[in-house]
Assembly symmetry: C2
């Protein structure tokens, strides 16, 4: 029986909104937002969309009016009562009241700041300017909107059964990965795929399928809305934007060399246990660890997000040993360019030597590769990054020169200050 009221109601929507909640974002964004709200609330930042996949002509595929409607819709969102209750009441990593009353009071009144959108040839220039804790929350929804609008542009010409078979193929593809993964005991895999997901509904399906198929090996999702709706653990720690902005704010080379450790010193005041995870690669992992203060060796884990992941894990294990720590008590989180086979390979290689966990992203929530003519739904590399702070350009080096960002002279300066030598280049696909 058709629910007539529902159908009429659905027809009243002017658009089909892609992002419908302020917590349809990665959990670490909220953790970092609280940290920034506490430590650097007045820093003025600019975030900018960067399409690393120039062969995907976003401005050609996506109508500017539709993009504006989606972005405007996000600006109309505010935290709902239920979302606030979930954030205030939930247990994260076994800890209650992860979010302070001060932060929640602020977050409950927040609306996202304006955006600046301009077409430049076949690409869009999309930037966000304002105070750091507000602007930073644009990153994930902006990426999700662009990824999903690009998908809709492709899906628009497909028949009803053709569409169903497309999703059938994508489901089968994911399920076969899950079947491979569950053959390996002791795996821990979480969904990290919000930012480059095919769509919200598809991410929601993927997460639920992981829950059924992997059972205990499924650790949870980085997406707060899905974690809330599906009663799952919200997963995440921190990201490059913290050291990038802290470093941009440094007034001289000495302060710059210290900035990445200042980030973690601030973080340590707020978090313990599984949230004490080092992301060491912003300006080169080896130098970061060599120069790290001893208290960092007591942290729980290291996240490997660029460079060759096995080499990164070996570096982490060696460092812990040098600092007198037992790697078997430590956690390595792999989160860069993972797919099922890579997860299995790394798990097999490291599970006996260190606690291992995986943040599976794009190839979990957007593996439509090979499923359409001309591969027009294949995932591509879109990021939204802090490009300046208080008027000073940010820089990222990472362990892969293809992921480096920033003005050339600043990149050279950072390389000098952080003692980064030659790096192996790795292709950036997603």
């Amino acid at each position: 029986m058709v629910d007539i009221a529902t159908r009429v109601w659905n027809h009243k929507w002017k658009i089909d909104p892609i992002v419908r909640s302020l917590i349809d974002t990665d959990f670490y964004k909220l953790l970092m937002c609280q940290s920034v709200f506490r430590n650097k609330p007045d820093t003025q930042v600019t975030f900018s969309l960067i399409n690393r996949s120039k062969h995907v002509p976003l401005a050609h595929l996506i109508d500017e009016g539709e993009l504006r409607e989606q972005l405007d819709h996000i600006r109309s969102l505010s935290l709902s009562r239920g979302e606030s209750t979930w954030m205030r009441g939930n247990t994260f990593y076994g800890k209650r009241q992860m979010f302070t009353p001060e932060f929640m009071d602020w977050f409950e009144t927040l609306r996202l700041p304006p955006y600046h959108l301009e077409r430049r040839g076949d690409q869009y220039e999309l930037t966000f300017e304002g105070s750091w804790p507000e602007v930073m929350l644009w990153e994930i929804p902006a990426l999700a909107v662009l990824m999903e609008l690009r998908g809709r542009a492709v899906l628009n010409s497909m028949g009803r059964f053709e569409l169903q078979v497309l999703y059938a193929r994508a489901m089968t593809k994911l399920w076969e990965k899950i079947e491979r993964l569950r053959m390996h005991d002791g795996l821990r895999v979480a969904d990290f795929g919000t930012r480059r997901r095919h769509s919200f509904l598809w991410q929601d399906w993927c997460v639920q399928a992981m829950g059924e198929g992997l059972a205990g090996a499924f650790a949870g999702t980085s997406n707060c809305l899905i974690a809330k709706n599906r009663d799952l653990e919200a997963i995440g720690t921190n990201a490059h934007e913290l050291p990038m902005v802290y470093s941009a704010l440094a007034t001289d080379d000495n302060a710059l060399a210290q900035a990445p450790y200042d980030v973690l010193s601030d973080w340590q005041e707020e978090h313990d246990g599984n949230l004490r995870v080092i992301l060491p690669d912003t300006y080169g992992t080896q130098g970061f660890l060599d120069n790290a203060p001893d208290w960092l060796a007591g942290w729980t884990g290291i996240r490997i997000d660029s460079g060759d992941p096995a080499a990164g894990a070996e570096t982490a294990i060696d460092w812990w040993k040098q600092r007198g720590e037992d790697p078997r008590d430590k956690l390595v989180i792999f989160s860069d360019g993972l797919d099922a086979d890579k997860i299995i390979e790394l798990h097999t290689q490291f599970a006996d030597r260190v606690r291992v966990s995986f943040g599976w992203g794009t190839m979990l929530t957007n593996d439509f590769k090979g499923l359409t003519k001309d591969d027009r739904l294949a995932p591509f590399s879109l990021v939204c990054k802090a490009v300046s702070a208080d008027g000073r350009a940010t820089v990222k080096l990472s362990d892969n020169p293809n992921k480096a960002m920033g003005p050339d002279d600043e990149i050279e300066r950072y390389k000098r200050v952080f003692g980064v030598g030659a790096q192996d280049a790795q292709a950036v696909i997603v």
Copy 2:
């Protein structure tokens, strides 16, 4: 929004009925039923279920109580007003009033006669006795119920996402066949898969997917309910049960030799055009055609339902030529053991020499082969046949000795009367 009334209503069903309509059956059953109603209304027949796949222990898999509930539900069905209107008002093969007012008056009051069910080891003995026009209508729903209950027994232990992926895989499998088929111009393919379908909903999906994917190459469905619901052409002509029962009723060898032609003589009084299709293989195609009266050569087509299909088509083409007919005006319908590759092969081989059409059955609506552990959903060979008429055993020889049915001495007598010599055996899979 949940439609509460619908949900409550659904909970009131004591069972989930598999067959919900008297026209959830093959169109040719209704055509033959009308013919029998006109020509042999008082013949007493017994139909019996025969599981040719002894390795599928139906009585072990299917609960007897559930089977009885489904069969009892079928006995509670009667023709609805809308179904009657569709039968009375529809155009079949361009002809109006395919069903006479006398037949419709009778059919509108019909309820199916009792069944006899007994467990014998791992199999069920399921028989139907009574007047031919009533009993014959049990064949398709009885098969559909057993196929679907067997499927439910397997599906019962599967998880929600595991189920969705199962259907995703089945959809992908069918769609890939459709993609292969639509590369060939001039194909005509119809759904003949009611009797051994995985389930009603699955057949309905397959038919709709064919409609979208094959477009003009899709000829329609043999299933009347789906044809009605989806506004498609209902497809079919006649089957072996007519010559089998007519032959069983023959009182001597001369009458027996004549019986298969009597069937078509009766048929010719009722039907013309595309419904004048010869099914020549009941007692051997070659002998049937050699001895056929000349008026049969004027019929529109021949259906090839056993033996090597290419050899059968060559036999038909040769026969038309011998009788002075141009095969390019004639129709060959292939309907035995087809799958996409076979369809393409036969189409490529014969499309230039004769009009060709395909009735695609089990491998359209039940290709779950390879999709579950131990292949427990693979299709198997179940039939429901007239085994006696007015107390006399029926016989079928066909062009494949593995499909022969009847008492041994009667098989020998029929072989002698119809001049059937050595036959090539073909594996019967579905």
